[in-house]
């Protein structure tokens, strides 16, 4: 594990009004790694992602603690430099967008464009690559509002990928997707070069595809490590309040989590 750190979060805290949302959160993501951020509703997953994405995504509110992006203190990074470095897809993305898929993907390239939005050769190539990686070629002239939920999510992902970020922050990217689309999205992420920090409720996908899983509970990191170390019946009972059976997938040797009933 000598791969360079893409993201290093130390002692992250965030308070919304009088409610403490995040407390002493420590997280890291190394190059090329897929990390899942799991935990019950309200655990602070979305807020943690938004803190990394930048203060402007939180409406200008600030957090405590430090965030390093590729070795640079994020607090000293300019917004445009940060935008070239990381891609972010929040949870609720507009479904009524009248832009075409191609236009939407070009919007994601914004941080790299020249003065007055000048589009260079390499920008066009990045957009084409993103469209191809997400298998959007045939849909490029369709409007985003006319796509199915799965297609639209892929279009937004392509939009984030077109900026060729080193780190992707995804907030429940598979929550509205069927089995096939969810798997295909994870395949795209797995084969891409960007490191990924992904908030999700799908423990199965997290265990199947992610290198490490961080469990957030009441704004704190309760456990962080390889899926089979972290996803235990004790932890699921404590964090989610459920009794779970954990079996091992013989083909991948990864854990499969089956919640069976509420914990007493």
């Amino acid at each position: 594990m000598t791969r360079p750190l893409i993201l290093d979060v130390k002692n992250l805290g965030f308070t919304y009004g009088t409610t403490r949302v995040l407390h002493q959160v420590e997280l890291d993501v190394t190059e090329g790694e897929l990390v899942a951020l799991v935990g019950p509703n309200g655990a602070g997953k979305s807020t943690a992602l938004a803190c990394v994405a930048g203060p402007e995504t939180l409406g200008g509110r600030s957090h405590t603690g430090t965030i390093h992006l590729g070795g640079h203190d994020a607090a000293t990074l300019r917004a445009d430099a940060r935008a070239r470095w990381l891609g972010y897809l929040p949870q609720n993305l507009p479904a009524d967008l009248v832009l075409t898929v191609e236009e939407l993907v070009w919007l994601g390239r914004h941080p790299h464009l020249g003065a007055f939005g000048l589009r260079r050769e390499r920008d066009a190539r990045a957009v084409e690559d993103a469209l191809a990686d997400c298998e959007l070629g045939p849909l490029r002239h369709r409007r985003a509002c006319d796509l199915s939920g799965g297609e639209r999510q892929r279009a937004y992902l392509a939009s984030a990928l077109s900026a060729q970020p080193s780190l992707l922050l995804l907030d429940e990217p598979t929550s509205a997707l069927d089995l096939r689309h969810a798997l295909s999205l994870l395949q795209i992420l797995k084969s891409g070069s960007a490191a990924v920090l992904m908030a999700t409720h799908d423990l199965h996908l997290a265990a199947r595809y992610c290198d490490r899983v961080a469990v957030l509970h009441d704004g704190r990191v309760r456990a962080f490590g390889a899926p089979d170390e972290v996803l235990t019946t004790e932890l699921l009972r404590e964090v989610y309040g459920v009794e779970a059976t954990i079996v091992r997938d013989p083909s991948t040797d990864r854990p499969i989590v089956l919640a069976t009933e509420l914990a007493p």
């Binding site: 300019r78 940060r82 891609g87 507009p94 236009e103």
Partner: protein, 329 residues
Amino acid sequence: MSPRAQGPLMAAAALALAAVTLVLCPLVGAVSLSWSDVWNGVPPHADIFWTLRLPRVVLAGLAGAVLAVAGTVYQAVFRNDLATPFTLGVASGASLGAVLAIHLGLGAVFWGVSTLPLFAFGGAGVVVLGVFGLARARGREQDPGTILLAGVTVSFLCAALILLVQFMADVGDTNRMIRWMMGGLDVVGWTPTTRSAPFAVVGLLWILSRARVLDQLLTGDALAASRGIAVRRERLLLLLAASLAAGAVIAFTGPIGFVGLIVPHAMRRITGPSHLWLTIGSAGTGAAFLAICDTIARTVAAPTEIPVGILTALLGAPFFLLLLMRGRR
């Protein structure tokens, strides 16, 4: 044709339409004018052209462009199809200023501008700044919903105050107030145009320079912010630019409805949603639309002039309904 090719073409067509309108509309009226008379300075035709017709058509073009572009900005910033340049209370603030000026009967003149438009612009400015102040005081962040609510609330407050002033005014003044609030372009000379133009032109250019920011705002605040857009600052400046430009224009014309609502919607179907072409297209079409409406308003029942605000809705609504039906397929 691919959407990317259509945008610039349609924006150019809208500008061409505006140019043709601005050339032809001044020739039409109670007295028909010809270019040769105007060119050769034949009185009184040349005077009618230069001091009555042309200033009026140019002001109509300026107002139409500003109202349409301001509408484009409001609809993008609030992500709301029903937002208009008047949503934040610009029209009600200006109207309150205007009825106060009429009621107080002040006759002073500053910078070549009489009290009424000054009060109207002042009213618009006070209301817009007040709305932003309210939104800022209420929450630490300025979310569009709060700004919108504050704008609507202040509009209602102004409407009540306008009624109060009208109630206290005598019949003649009340008539003038109502007439002003119908909107009209019955100006003489260049003063209204030259006084509102600085705000209008600076506002329009600022908005045009932020076209890519408006595009980003379509995908929501969080996504736009993650791409390096200073969302709150950009939103504030865009709304200020649009509101002050609209305020400067309606200080002289009165509130002219419909243009700011319908032109951006119609243009979105024609140029596509990219804001560079949408803004240019809206400016051109808004200018042409209001200039044509005003030409009809002053000729159809000549020598009586119909308030142009009535005509914009009468002519625009059927056209827009047609567009809606065709778009549905």
